[in-house]
Structures are given as structure tokens and as C-alpha cells.
């Protein structure tokens, strides 16, 4: 009995080792391989749902139809998992990382915990998202046109933390001349909606999917008023109207109306970088540093075929919003807008967070 067991165990061990032995890298074929899609957040979060949405399509279009699995590595709000990916993963195309705004922002703000370097990664696919700001009806404001009425009013906004993407939105309020009281400690964006429904806050935002499904009913019931959508970046990197909300002005349009001039200046540049890292390039699928060109090419080709799959196109419109999934060189361009920020804008942003919201990037 004992010997049979040991023999079986030895065979299992041997078999597994054989399988895991590195294959000679000629023509890239992932047949029989397991690909780990690392998500540095808990299962069930936005990035996790996003990654799992892609799994069946990646399996279908990667050569050899490998098994693709999500591996959740939570900790440090995404920083820990991204660090591990950067320091440990092998450039064999079998490990990819799905990042999110909360991985991009600390990188942008040079958080001392960040050990990863976006410039060394290869972005394969970028999923943008948008969002809509809405308020409680008590203000008597009907649309972005009379946003001026909000000036000088007591505005309360719930945020998940001082380096979360909620601060991108707080900055947009400030650029539009509002002075919100930011209350920290929310446990997720849905918490923000609940706080507004309870009347504890009176201004909030939700990203596209959540807005369509959970805030639209409130709007219809007269319990919430949408003001503006943040917008998306066009090919030139300018903020334009969000295709998911063609009837709503973008932040750039509202800004122009409020101030009577096109948005410009260091604070606008800071906002744009912040916005790109948080929204326009919110989710990025990357390959690790040092990945050979043939593997990159295979992944790019798979991504191209995924985003042109008709079933994917229909389903992604429902699940991810009406946004163009950036692939190939576009993915790299968009990622660069998010991470290669003019030093003056970066300094302005840091200073804004430090002086206004007690952000401590170098706290020990």
C-alpha cells in the first residue's frame, strides 16, 4: 500500500516537473500550457470581473488554446501584486498582469512602495472606462448648464482614499470652481451611491456600467440629477464626449462654459494625466519586462482577434461600456499618456494632494 502510494506520488511529481520544464522558444505555441492572468485585487472586484470577461476569448485566440486562469494576488491596493509580477514573472508569455487605476496612480505619484516600472512592461490591451457625476435633486440644478448654482453651496463627496481614483473626480470638481468637502473611508464605489441615497453626501460619481444600471433608475425616479460625463481621450489626447453618453457634456466642455476659455495650464495637464491613469487607460493588460518580440507579436495578434470577435463586440458593449478597446500601438500610446507625465504637472498634482488632502507620499 505504502509503496504503491509513493510510486504514484513519484510519478505525479515527475510528470508535473516534465510539464513545467521550459519549452524551447521557437514558434510560439501555448498548447497544453496554463497562462496565469494576475489580478492584484480580490476576486469580485472591478478588475477581477474585467479579467474574467476576457478569459474565454483569450483561450480561443491564443495559439494552441491554452487554459487561461485568473490568479488573484491582493494586498496594498494592487501594489503588492504588481510588485511581485514585476520582480518575479518570467518573460515566457505565460504570465500577464491586469492593472487598474489604483496601480497606475501610486506609480504616477511615486509612492515609495512601488517597485514596478511601467516603462519596462509591454501593454497589449487597454480598456478605457468613463463615468458620470450626479447630484441630489435638492439643489434645483437640472443639468450642467446651471452648474454655476452649485458655487458656494455645501457640497459633500465621499472618497475611498487620498490616493484613489476618486481624487481624479475631486480634482474635476475643483477645476469647475466647486469646493467639495471630501469625506474619506468609503469601502467601494457602491458605498458612495448609498451615501448619496441616504443624503449623507450630495455629489457622487459612478463609472459607466454602474451608472447605467444603478443610477439611471434613480434619475428616472427623480432622486438624482446627472451633470456631466468625464469624457474620453481622442487620438490627439484631447478630452472629448463619451460615446456612451452622447447627450452629456465632457469635463472640457463644462470647463469652457464656466471659465469662458478652453482648458489649459498646468492644473489641466495634471488633471488630464490623472484622468488618463484613472479612467481613459483604467485597465491595462501587460506582459512582463524582457518579453521577446515573437511572444509580444503573438499576444498582440490574439488581442486583435479578441476585440474583433463579433460576440465579444456585442457583449463588451454591455459589460464594459461603449468604448474602443485599444490594442497594438494605440495601447502603448494610451499607456504613455498615463505614465509619462510632464514633471511640472506631476509636481502640481502632488502638491495639490499634499496641501489640500494631507497626502503623505513619503510617510514611514
Amino acid at each position: 500500500m505504502g509503496r504503491i502510494w509513493l510510486a504514484a506520488f513519484a510519478m505525479l511529481l515527475g510528470g508535473v516537473m516534465l510539464q513545467a520544464a521550459p519549452a524551447a522558444a521557437q514558434a510560439v505555441d501555448f498548447k497544453g500550457k496554463r497562462i496565469e492572468f494576475i489580478v492584484p485585487f480580490i476576486p469580485g472586484g472591478g478588475t477581477d470581473v474585467w479579467a474574467r470577461f476576457f478569459l474565454p476569448y483569450l483561450e480561443k485566440y491564443l495559439p494552441g488554446n491554452p487554459t487561461v486562469l485568473v490568479k488573484n494576488q491582493p494586498g496594498g491596493n494592487g501594489i503588492a501584486g504588481a510588485n511581485q509580477f514585476h520582480l518575479r514573472s518570467q518573460p515566457d508569455g505565460l504570465t500577464v498582469l491586469g492593472t487598474s487605476g489604483s496601480v497606475q496612480l501610486p506609480y504616477l505619484l511615486e509612492d515609495p512602495r512601488v517597485k514596478y516600472e511601467y516603462k519596462e512592461w509591454t501593454p497589449i490591451l487597454v480598456s478605457p472606462t468613463g463615468g458620470v457625476t450626479y447630484i441630489r435633486p435638492e439643489f434645483g440644478v437640472k443639468s450642467a448648464a446651471d452648474i454655476g448654482k452649485l458655487k458656494g453651496q455645501k457640497i459633500k463627496f465621499g472618497s475611498q482614499g487620498v490616493s484613489s481614483i476618486d481624487m481624479v473626480v475631486a480634482l474635476s470638481y475643483e477645476l469647475l470652481g466647486l469646493d467639495p468637502q471630501v469625506v474619506f473611508g468609503l469601502k467601494g464605489r457602491a458605498d458612495g451611491r448609498l451615501a448619496l441615497e441616504r443624503g449623507e453626501t450630495n455629489i457622487d460619481y459612478q463609472i459607466t456600467g454602474a451608472f447605467l444600471k444603478n443610477v439611471e433608475p434613480l434619475v428616472k425616479a427623480g432622486k438624482a440629477v446627472p451633470l456631466y460625463a468625464f469624457g474620453v481621450l481622442d487620438d490627439k489626447g484631447e478630452v472629448v464626449r463619451d460615446p456612451s453618453f452622447p447627450g452629456m457634456p465632457s469635463v472640457a466642455e463644462v470647463y469652457e462654459k464656466m471659465h469662458g476659455r478652453k482648458p489649459a495650464g498646468v492644473e489641466w495637464e495634471a488633471y488630464k494625466a490623472f484622468f488618463t491613469a484613472g479612467f481613459a487607460a483604467q485597465k491595462i493588460l501587460v506582459l512582463p519586462k524582457g518579453t521577446p518580440a515573437n511572444i509580444i507579436a503573438v499576444w498582440r495578434e490574439a488581442a486583435r482577434r479578441v476585440v474583433s470577435d463579433p460576440e465579444f463586440v456585442t457583449r463588451s458593449r454591455n459589460e464594459l461600456g461603449d468604448y474602443k478597446q485599444a490594442i497594438g500601438p494605440d495601447a502603448a500610446t494610451l499607456t504613455n499618456v498615463a505614465i509619462q507625465v510632464d514633471p511640472a504637472a506631476k509636481a502640481w498634482l502632488k502638491n495639490w494632494l499634499v496641501t489640500k488632502y494631507n497626502y503623505k507620499p513619503d510617510a514611514d
Binding site: 476576486p43 474565454p56 494576488q73 515609495p112 459633500k156 448609498l194 449623507e200 459589460e319
Partner: protein, 659 residues
């Protein structure tokens, strides 16, 4: 509406959905029983299979799993004294003593019946609440939430044991450990000692396993016997069910508590069991047996931790806001099968809602039935000499802790919490009070801060719910203090003499040092970041000084003085080794892992430990070692989880699984 309820039931039991429901239940029981995994991990496992399933089948499977984790986790808690998941920590307090004295069958049976009853009550509440709960949940603002959390803290007075001062010290220490990491209001890193691992705070798994499981494993090893002192597991299967019937009032009330707390997003499932336990003790006439094996302690907790899922589904379905960790993934699953939870879904897809509710009810009954079937065999583990079980327990506990962030810090945190747990136990400080403080810290601080930002005192005074909850807390405190159970929750003290008090003094001095460190660490923080830990310190310091004064006064009749290790316990109760002896073994195990990684480390540890400590021959040792290695290989392969790496793996690239 009634016809929808009926047709969904028929559809569920006559279609393939029932098979999926069964699958969900079985997986739920497995992840419940294994301490490494809980409902959250189980749901995450299911998600890939959900994709592409017929929606009703997917709903049945996910709900089946969600429903029974709290039934399965009972097995480990009662038989091993190790929480099978966070929801059944309080089951240990009375369930494990019952198993130790040979009444495992009765305790398990009572737990399953109570679980099934609680789960069905939860499903009923969900049925009724789903269409009307929205205004109720919206009525609970942050102020009301704060009071509910404080109600949880008030349970400390019934869990303190013979000395209230020591209960409060334990709770305050828990609050202090909970305050480690980023401050909710300012994101400043508190007390992290320059280590970013602690920025997220100490993980709950490390605290729960460290404070409860490690001291228990060590204690059992030191006695070198089986868990059960009786030679059989008892024939109390029927008795357990009868116990539930006798105490049906407890079942009803704790189920209601479970539903309510589950339905409020943000408080979370890991507190429900403690509040239910505290309530059971408060409302019992004879409190003398709690902590020593009172069946009501098991029944109350188990009814509440199953009913909590019915409650937690209320906000999940009508707001799309999860009420617990596992419902968070449940929510993601719904989105994956094309459903968007929210009031719209509840009203327009009533069949979906009732499929979930029926699955919940049926799964709870099935889960309890399965548990009855397997428990007879499982319970025999309590008759096995513990040296054979201990290495498995240690391996699982460390592996479970490592899963919370996949960082070596998890292992260190577990050891640190284990040491705190051992000494809390030794000196008679209530470990439940410590855990309550730890679990509720973040909620108290966040809600307090948010309430201050959102409301003025005048606003709060105009909210009737605030007054009602305030009254409930006052009543709870009054009864809690008036009829405080004075049981020793942490065993009996050894003989004390004036010369054996110094270890207690050192313990108090170390706690005082922690207070000083905390004050020093937060001294330059913004007020909002430092006010909470400073308040806790201001409360804790006088208590510690009082304790120190009592110890130095050497009044041996004072219940504060307590030391279960005051003399060498070799002679009594079959103790054969000292506390330090097995602490060293565990440190040795972690050290091995640090050098050569988890899989090789565990194999070496098994061989060494069993060769030295057990009478097993080399064949047996090889078999047991092979089994554990195969188990961890399988679990890490199929669940795509990492094993802790060692120095060896950092220097050389090794193939899976040892790399």
C-alpha cells in the same frame, strides 16, 4: 407573486439546476471544513465554471455554496478547536470543550440542526424583506452603524471572564492591533515599523488562526493525547437535535440577529457570531457552563452564522452592495451571467430572486444532511493521538495564513499573533474580547469619522433610530454588567505564590511598552489619523497600570492574578512538555520554510517531527509525508495558489512545485 414562488420551486427541483445546487453544496462543505478556505475562496473557485452556464443552474450552484460554508466550518471548529472559517470562531468557545469531554456527536448534531434552521429562517426573511427592505437599509446611516458596532463592543463585558478589567485590556489591545496600518481618514501608516507589509493592517486570518488555533495546537501537543478525553465520540446525535428544540427561542433570536446584521452592508460576517454568542450568554439564566461546554453557545452561534447569508443577500440583490466577502463574489458571478443586481432586477426578474431564495433554503437543509452523514467518520479524528494530527494542522494553518496576501509577512504575523494568543491564554485574558476589538476597530473608526463629517449632533438627535439603538446598548450593558458570567474563559489558574507573579508583571509591562510605542509613533500625525489610537491608549494605559498595581500588591485572592503556567505542569493533566518546547518546534518549521520553501520545508518537518515525536515507523512517516505533499501540490495546482517561497527559490529557479 405566490405563483412565481411556486413555479420557481418546481423549476428548481425538477431541472438540472438541482444537480448544480448539489455541486455547490458539496464544494461549500469542503471549503468550510478546510480552515485554509472560506466562503470567499469557494466562490472564487466557482466563478470560472459559472461562465456560460444556464443562469438558473449558475444561481443554484453559487447560492448552494454560499449557504453551507457556515455549516461545514462547524466541523473543524468543534472537533479541532480551529475556526473552519471566520464565521465560526465563536462556535469554538463551547463546541470544542464539548468535543474534548466526549460529546462531539451531540455538539455537531445541535450545530447542524441550528444551522439548517437558521439558514431556512434567513431564506424566509429574505423572501419577505426583498421587496420592502430598501427604506429600512437606507434608514441606517453611518451614525446608526456606529451604534451597532458599539453594541458589538458591549459584548466584551459578557466575554471577559472573572475580571472585567482584563476583558477590557484584551479588547483595547485588539483595537490597538487593529489600528496598525493605513488610517481610514488620512491614509497615514500607523505603527508599521517601517514595514509596508503592515500598511494594509494585520490580516484577519492571521489574527483568528494565531489567537485561537496556534495556542490550541500547542496545548494539545503538550498533553500528548487525543483531543477527546473520552474513548468514543458519544451517541448524542439525537440529543443534539432535542437540544435545539428545547432552545428554539435561542435559535429564533440569534437567527434574527444574523439576518439584521447581515443585511447591513459594511459590518460583515465575522462579527455576527460574537454578537450572537454574547446575546445567548446575556439572556441565559444559568451562565455557569458557558465556555466549558454549554450547548446553547453552539446553537446560538450556528443559527446566526447561517441566517446571516439570507440577510447579506438583501443589500446584494437590491442595491448591488455586498453584505459580506462571499456575497461580493456572488455579485460578480451575477454580473458574469448577465444579471445586474439592483431594484430593477428584483422587481422585473422575480423568478431569479426566488430561485436564489429557494436554493438558499434547500441548500441549508441538504448541507446539514450531508454533514450528518460524514460527521461520524470525521469525529473519529478526535480519538486519534494528536501528534499525528498536529503537523497537518500546522501546515494547513500556515498555508491558510499565507493566502491572505501571499507575502512572507503573513507567516510572521501568524507567529506573532500566536505568541500573543498563547500569553493571553496563559494569563487569563479573554481572547474573544481581543478578537472583537480587532475586528471592530476599522468600523468604529471609519463610522465615527464619517458620522462627524456627515451629521451635526442636532441631526443625529432628530433620528429616532439613533435613540432606539442607544437604548438597546444601554440595556445590553446593564444586563451584561449586572449578571456578568464570572467563568474563567481561559481554563484554570495554577497555584500562585508571591514569587511566581513576575511573568504577569512582564506581560503587563510589554503591553505598556506597546502603548508607549503607539503614542510615540502617531505623535506627528494629523489629528484625524492619531485621535483613535490615542484615545485607545488613554483608556488602556490606566487599566494596565491598575493591573500592574494589583500584581505588585500580591493579593492572591484578586481575580486579576492568573497564570495557568505558574508552576511546571508536568505532573497534572498529562502535560509532557513546556510551552516553549513546541513554540521552538513551530519556529523551526517556519525557519525551514524560510530556507527551502514551503513544500520541501513541510516534507522535512513532517519527517523530523514524526520521527522524533511519534512512534510511527519509516513506512508510516513516508506515507503521511507523501500525503501532505500531494495535498498541497493538488491544492496549489487546481486553485492556482502560490506556496511560500524560501531563500533557496530566490537563489535558484526551480521547477513547479518546489520553485
Amino acid at each position: 407573486m405566490l405563483d412565481v414562488i411556486a413555479t420557481t420551486f418546481v423549476n428548481l427541483v425538477t431541472s438540472a439546476s438541482l444537480i448544480y445546487l448539489l455541486g455547490g453544496v458539496l464544494l461549500g462543505l469542503v471549503v468550510g471544513i478546510l480552515p485554509a478556505l472560506g466562503g470567499t475562496a469557494g466562490m472564487a473557485l466557482l466563478i470560472p465554471f459559472v461562465f456560460g452556464l444556464e443562469p438558473n443552474a449558475a444561481l443554484a450552484m453559487m447560492t448552494g455554496l454560499l449557504a453551507v460554508v457556515a455549516t461545514g466550518d462547524t466541523v473543524t471548529s468543534i472537533l479541532m478547536g480551529i475556526p473552519g472559517s471566520a464565521a465560526s470562531q465563536a462556535t469554538i468557545l463551547d463546541g470544542f470543550p464539548l468535543a474534548k469531554r466526549g460529546e462531539a456527536a451531540r455538539a455537531l448534531s445541535a450545530a447542524y440542526v441550528a444551522s439548517a434552521a437558521g439558514g431556512v429562517i434567513g431564506a424566509m426573511v429574505l423572501t419577505a424583506a426583498i421587496l420592502v427592505a430598501r427604506p429600512i437599509i437606507l434608514a441606517f446611516g453611518t451614525g446608526e452603524m456606529l451604534l451597532l458596532v458599539l453594541l458589538g463592543i458591549s459584548m466584551v463585558c459578557v466575554l471577559s471572564g472573572s475580571s472585567l478589567v482584563k476583558g477590557l485590556i484584551a479588547c483595547a489591545l485588539g483595537l490597538l492591533v487593529g489600528a496598525v496600518g493605513a488610517a481610514p481618514a488620512t491614509s497615514e501608516y500607523r505603527m508599521i515599523m517601517g514595514n509596508f507589509y503592515l500598511a494594509d493592517g494585520v490580516p484577519l486570518v492571521a489574527v483568528a488562526l494565531g489567537v485561537f488555533a496556534l495556542p490550541e495546537i500547542i496545548d494539545l501537543l503538550r498533553r500528548d493525547a487525543a483531543i477527546s478525553s473520552a474513548m468514543s465520540i458519544g451517541r448524542g446525535w439525537l440529543q443534539g437535535a432535542i437540544d435545539c428544540w428545547i432552545h428554539k427561542g435561542v435559535v429564533l433570536r440569534t437567527s434574527a440577529i444574523g439576518c439584521l446584521i447581515g443585511a447591513l452592508p459594511g459590518i460583515g460576517g465575522s462579527v455576527v457570531d460574537w454578537i450572537a454568542y454574547g446575546h445567548t450568554v446575556q439572556t441565559a439564566r444559568d451562565k455557569s457552563q458557558f465556555g466549558k461546554g454549554d450547548i446553547r453557545g453552539v446553537i446560538g452561534v450556528e443559527a446566526s452564522n447561517n441566517s446571516v447569508q439570507g440577510g447579506a443577500l438583501v443589500p446584494t440583490l437590491i442595491f448591488g452592495i455586498p453584505g459580506s466577502g462571499s456575497t461580493a463574489i456572488f455579485l460578480a458571478g451575477l454580473i458574469l451571467i448577465g444579471l445586474q443586481p439592483g431594484m430593477a432586477m428584483v422587481e422585473q426578474n422575480l423568478d431569479v430572486t426566488y430561485t436564489i431564495i429557494w436554493s438558499l433554503a434547500i441548500a441549508n437543509i441538504l448541507g446539514a444532511g450531508f454533514c450528518f452523514m460524514i460527521s461520524g467518520q470525521m469525529a473519529k479524528l478526535t480519538l486519534v493521538r494528536y501528534v499525528y494530527l498536529a503537523p497537518y494542522m500546522l501546515a494547513i494553518v500556515f498555508y491558510a495564513s499565507f493566502q491572505s496576501s501571499g507575502d512572507w509577512g503573513d507567516m510572521v504575523a501568524l507567529i506573532a499573533m500566536g505568541l500573543i494568543g498563547c500569553y493571553l491564554r496563559r494569563f487569563g485574558y479573554s481572547r474573544p474580547a481581543f478578537l472583537i476589538g480587532f475586528v471592530l476597530q476599522n468600523n468604529i473608526e471609519t463610522y465615527l469619522y464619517q458620522t462627524m463629517q456627515f451629521y451635526t449632533l442636532g441631526d443625529l438627535a432628530r433620528r429616532p433610530l439613533i435613540w432606539i439603538l442607544f437604548a438597546v446598548i444601554v440595556i445590553s450593558l446593564y444586563f451584561g454588567l449586572k449578571h456578568r458570567p464570572k467563568n474563567q474563559t481561559e481554563g484554570v489558574s495554577g497555584e500562585l505564590s508571591a514569587t511566581t507573579l513576575w511573568p504577569q508583571a512582564i506581560f503587563l509591562l510589554l503591553a505598556l511598552a506597546a502603548v508607549v510605542y503607539c503614542v510615540y509613533d502617531v505623535r506627528k500625525f494629523y489629528l484625524l489619523g492619531s485621535i483613535f489610537p490615542l484615545t485607545v491608549c488613554a483608556f488602556l494605559a490606566p487599566l494596565l497600570l491598575y493591573g500592574l498595581w494589583r500584581v505588585l500588591a500580591r493579593d492572591l485572592s484578586d481575580p486579576i492574578l492568573f497564570d495557568s503556567e505558574s508552576e511546571w505542569r508536568l505532573k497534572e493533566e498529562g502535560y509532557v512538555a513546556s510551552l516553549g518546547h513546541y513554540v521552538l518546534w513551530i519556529l523551526g518549521f517556519v525557519g525551514l520554510t524560510y530556507l527551502v520553501g514551503f513544500l520541501i520545508g513541510i516534507a522535512l518537518f513532517f519527517v523530523l517531527f514524526l520521527a522524533v515525536k511519534s512512534p510511527a515507523g519509516w513506512g508510516g512517516i513516508a506515507l503521511m509525508t507523501g500525503a501532505v505533499v500531494a495535498f498541497f501540490m493538488a491544492i496549489s495546482y487546481f486553485l492556482v495558489l502560490d506556496l511560500p517561497r524560501g531563500l533557496l527559490q530566490n537563489v535558484y529557479r526551480l521547477p513547479w512545485p518546489i520553485g
